[in-house]
């Protein structure tokens, strides 16, 4: 399957834990087709992963975990013998809490009060932590009994001892005929110097990070006293997750609201490594003059990120890639102004960032649930797949976006010029700010000829989101506020059968 190769790669890249997650698990909220027909058994992936890690002497520095419908002590022992030392349980403990496998985890109607926010249903919750503890005690007891039979005293001794697994003779189903399990039950012949379970911690070399070397200490006046700082630094592509450690300190000290906008300004010149600005809170502003790698602004939580080409660069920004793939994945808040094209999967699962770019790759805004994306250039295919919230505006110069690029399953489109003035002004002001931050020639051109440029913008709006926003507005007009208004809007939608 290749999962072993991937595991060896991430072990070298300093992963602490590798999880092989089998196909039989998963949320009850997923579609039936996925529940039944996606993925592969953990047994296969786990065996291959453990063997590859052993052969490359990487096993001893990672924790290997597996999950996927583990329910009994016997399951755990088998997983351990195949190479795991940590084990994930979900369904079985949920059942002990009262889960009835309704598969409505996403509908707020869980009748036993587990996966719901509805107070009427939460009241029905009859379970308790004791039940889970009790269940786990049974699992542990069964593990202990089996270990005693096999002659093991500790889990560590048992990890990867596939030689203790015996094939059941009784399986004479016709489908089992001709199957060869030896690859799964193989135990690599490695010397005693190779550790067979996790024995040491990964050295993440954090002391060599740009944050620990420079940024954090220079940001101290801001973190301690809220004093604005300006940090100018060169950056190269081995500087990964720039700013994140500093961001963590800000969050630790100032909580989720961070600092006032632009308190910590980090100005970088060069080519930034992966995950620049990941998870950074409000108050941090990154200006990268150059380019950035993948995962720019991943999980961004309020910070601001500006990326622009150097002033003297000869190429056309809106036709050239300036940031890698999966930028702003899972971001929850913040702003981004990127003068150039970004890679694939831009703003996937974004729930709050407002981002301006000049072009993006395939699968833009997939599974987006909130926030705003303004793209001043071309997009790749499958834009807006599974997009259930937020809004996007695309400058569709050639007029083929909707017919060739957009995934229309969940979204509607409108010409921007048909939206109300307030909305048109918002887009114009975003472009104005984009130009202020990045000197974007594309932005300048659009503003110079705004009345005809505006004609070419398409607004992409998820259908469900639009309806809920409308219901919310109505609820607010009735005088409801906050959570009450949201609940009313939710109920109105459910009652309408959505």
């Amino acid at each position: 399957m290749g999962v072993g190769t991937v595991a060896a790669g991430v072990a070298k890249a300093k992963a602490d834990v590798i999880l092989v997650s089998g196909y039989d698990g998963g949320t009850g909220a997923s579609p039936r087709s996925s529940i039944q027909h996606a993925g592969a058994p953990w047994e296969l992936g786990l065996a291959e992963t453990n063997q590859t890690l052993l052969l490359n002497d990487l096993r001893s520095r990672v924790i290997l975990e597996t999950d996927g419908q583990l329910k009994t002590g016997r399951d755990v022992v088998i997983a351990c013998l195949l190479g795991a030392e940590e084990f994930g349980f979900a369904t079985a403990p949920l059942i002990t809490l009262g889960c009835l496998m309704m598969r409505v985890c996403h509908k707020n109607t869980c009748p036993v009060g587990i996966a719901t926010q509805d107070p009427r249903l939460r009241e029905k919750f009859a379970g308790g932590a004791d039940a889970v503890v009790n269940f786990m005690n049974f699992v542990a007891e069964e593990i202990r009994e089996t270990m005693a039979k096999l002659g093991f005293r500790t889990i560590n001794e048992m990890v990867g001892r596939v030689d203790k697994l015996e094939l059941r003779k009784a399986i004479n189903h016709w489908k089992a005929k001709g199957l060869d399990y030896s690859a799964i039950l193989h135990r690599p012949d490695v010397g005693p110097e190779v550790g067979t379970y996790c024995q040491m911690k990964q050295d993440h070399l954090l002391d060599r990070s740009l944050d620990n070397r420079e940024i954090l200490k220079r940001a101290m006046p801001a973190i301690e006293n809220g004093q604005a700082v300006n940090i100018d630094l060169p950056v190269i592509n081995t500087d990964r997750v720039v700013g994140t450690i500093t961001g963590a300190e800000i969050s630790r000290k100032h909580g989720p609201n961070g600092l006032p906008e632009d308190t910590v300004k980090i100005n970088l010149a060069g080519s930034a490594g992966q995950s620049l600005g990941a998870f950074c809170p409000k108050g941090m502003t990154f200006t990268v003059t150059g380019d950035t790698n993948d995962y720019l602004g991943k999980g961004l939580s309020g910070g601001k990120i500006i990326v622009r080409p150097p002033e003297d660069s000869p190429f056309v920004a809106h036709e050239n890639v300036i940031a890698g793939n999966v930028c702003f994945y899972g971001a929850t808040a913040g702003q981004a102004f990127v003068s150039g094209v970004v890679g694939e999967r831009f703003c996937v699962r974004n729930s709050g960032v407002h981002a301006v770019v000049e072009g993006l790759g395939d699968h833009g805004c997939e599974y987006m649930t909130g926030g705003l994306v303004l793209c001043l250039g071309k997009t790749g295919r499958n834009f807006g797949a599974g997009m259930s919230g937020g809004v996007a505006y695309i400058y569709d110069e050639e007029g083929d976006f909707v017919s060739t690029k957009l995934n229309t399953e969940m979204v509607k489109t409108y010409p921007l010029v048909e939206c109300d003035d307030h909305e048109i002004d918002l887009i114009k002001s975003l472009i104005t700010r984009h130009v202020e931050y990045t000197d974007s020639p594309r932005g300048i051109d659009l503003l110079n000829d705004w009345s005809s440029a505006a004609e070419k913008f398409v607004k992409i709006m998820p259908e469900d989101y639009e309806r809920v926003l409308f219901a919310l507005k109505k609820a607010e007009e009735r005088g409801l506020e906050g959570d009450d208004a949201i609940q009313a809007a939710f109920e109105e939608n459910v009652a309408a059968g959505h």
């Binding site: 598969r103 109607t109 009748p111 036993v112 509805d118 109920e491 459910v494």
Partner: protein, 493 residues
């Protein structure tokens, strides 16, 4: 599912009953008409569970849990909610040949296993089932559907209870020519001469029989196989025989005074009564009638309830129902969790009526009948009973008399409703059918074939006294096996 929040918005409401004092004045069904919108609302309470139990028909702790004929309940609940009645009817008929019977008399093991029942009163599945089929008939959607082609095979079905009717219906659909033999003067088995009008009006049974006749099934009444016609002749004249003769042999109570005038089997009482009603006779004029008498019903099951309801309608002077088991708890006991059949205290229609008339639930729990006492003319005059306790003896519970609790209650009529022992012996002996330890005809569930080639058995005759819904289940499945036997393959479900 149409409405995820239906169960949060609407409370359970079943088809309402007429008031007891009103309904005991007649022999009509106890129900009132049910508003269509209400039924739709009730359909919306179905949660379309990811893991439903209502349709499973499992046996848990020896009781049915979930619908034994695997009715596609969540599907038709949803269709009803959406007002797609005709689709709902088609979906219902896929698994149930006679929803108008089960919708009225089934104890609804589906509802006992309904997931909603974990937190709230369950979906009123049975009422919805009944409403679908009643609407189907009212709208004229249920019409004869004779098979397009005939196979040329001939099958005899003996016994016309729900098992025999279901077998006949299925085999006819498969294109075989079916003849149903019934010893009574009318078709229906216990649906007719067992279950009283109050639960199931006899026009409803006849309506289905007429429909089946129009589809090509031949019904022969007043013909007892083994007496009027030898069973062996069926083996010669037909390609296959399916026996559905029920478990009609009643359990007796061989105690002192059993021979006294006034002591009857419940079935005698109920059958004569129904027959009298069908023939428009005065049912209180029969020797078995209960009017102006102190009545004792021995046995606390469905049959006993029907005796209570019938006696009340006759105008009995008093009524007592004796039950040897303890009174069930109000709520599920710890050893009786969902989705098991809930063994809880219920007020059935007969007891409810007796309570309205006489002021109290007629049931006496933990009582045993010791003897019947009579006058010098040999008429029943009283029943001598005592209280009992269940005591563990030699590893099993047995009833032990409570000292000093013996007493006599006055009675001029006593009805024995203590269940049934098994099928009668006539056919079994004539054909040499193998029997199981409980005297039922031996045939494995799922295969239904007896020890005689080409002879199948289904319903109460095979499984012992049971329920209409199980009879339909077995009848359908036996038809499938019979079809497979005749044709080498089958497309019957």
């Amino acid at each position: 599912m149409g409405k995820p929040t239906g169960f949060l918005e609407h409370e359970r409401q079943s088809i309402p009953d007429r008031s007891p004092l009103e309904r005991i004045k007649d022999w009509k069904e106890i129900h009132e008409p049910f508003d269509e919108d209400k039924v739709r609302q009730q359909g919306s309470r179905c949660m379309d569970c990811g893991t439903p139990y209502c349709h499973t028909g499992m046996t848990l702790a020896n009781m049915a849990s979930g619908c034994p004929i695997n009715n596609l309940i969540p599907e038709w609940n949803d269709l009803v909610y959406k007002g797609k009645w005709r689709d709902a009817l088609a979906r219902l008929h896929k698994t149930n040949n006679f929803p108008e019977f089960t919708g009225r008399v089934c104890p609804a093991p589906c509802e006992g296993s309904c997931v909603l029942g974990v937190i709230e009163p369950p979906v009123t599945i049975k009422s919805i089932e009944c409403s679908i089929i009643d609407k189907g008939f009212a709208e004229g959607w249920v019409t004869p559907q004779p098979p397009a082609r005939r196979s040329g095979k001939k099958i005899a079905v003996v016994g016309s209870g729900p098992a025999g009717m279901a077998t006949a219906d299925q085999l006819n659909k498969a294109g075989h020519l079916v003849t149903v033999y019934e010893r009574a003067d009318r078709i229906g088995g216990l649906l007719l001469y067992g279950i009283p009008n109050m639960k199931l009006e006899k026009e409803i049974v006849q309506r289905r029989v007429d429909l089946m006749a129009a589809e090509g099934i031949k019904f022969v009444v007043s013909t007892e196989i083994g007496k009027d016609l030898p069973a062996k002749s069926l083996l010669e004249d037909f390609d296959s025989v399916v026996l559905c003769c029920g478990a009609t042999k009643p359990r007796d109570l061989p105690i002192e005074g059993r021979e006294l005038k006034g002591v009857h089997y419940a079935m005698e009482f109920l059958t004569i009564n129904t027959q009298g009603l069908l023939e428009l006779k005065d049912v209180t004029a029969f020797e078995t009638a209960a009017n102006s008498k102190d009545v004792v019903v021995i046995g606390g099951g469905d049959t006993g309830t029907d005796c209570v309801g019938t006696s009340v309608r006759h105008g009995c002077k008093s009524i007592t129902q004796l039950e040897i088991m303890p009174r069930p708890p109000e709520e599920r006991a710890d050893d009786n969790p969902w989705p098991e059949w809930p063994k809880v205290y219920k007020m059935d229609y007969g007891q409810e009526e007796a309570k309205e008339v006489f002021g109290e639930d007629p049931r006496n729990y933990l009582t045993m009948t010791k003897k019947f006492s009579g006058d010098d003319q040999g008429n029943l005059k009283g029943v001598i009973i005592c209280d009992i306790e269940w005591k563990m003896e030699d590893g099993r519970y047995s009833p032990v008399e409570v000292q000093g609790s013996e007493r006599e209650i006055p009675a001029q009529a006593a009805f024995l409703a203590m269940g049934f022992l098994g099928p009668e012996d006539t056919i079994a002996e004539e054909l040499g059918l193998a029997r199981d330890s409980r005297s039922n005809v031996q045939a494995d569930y799922g295969r239904f074939s007896t020890n005689i080639e080409g002879v199948f058995a289904a319903g109460d005759m095979r499984r012992g006294q049971s329920l209409v819904v199980w009879a339909i289940n077995e009848g359908r499945a036996a038809a499938r096996e019979c079809d497979r036997y005749l044709m080498g393959e089958t497309s019957l479900p």
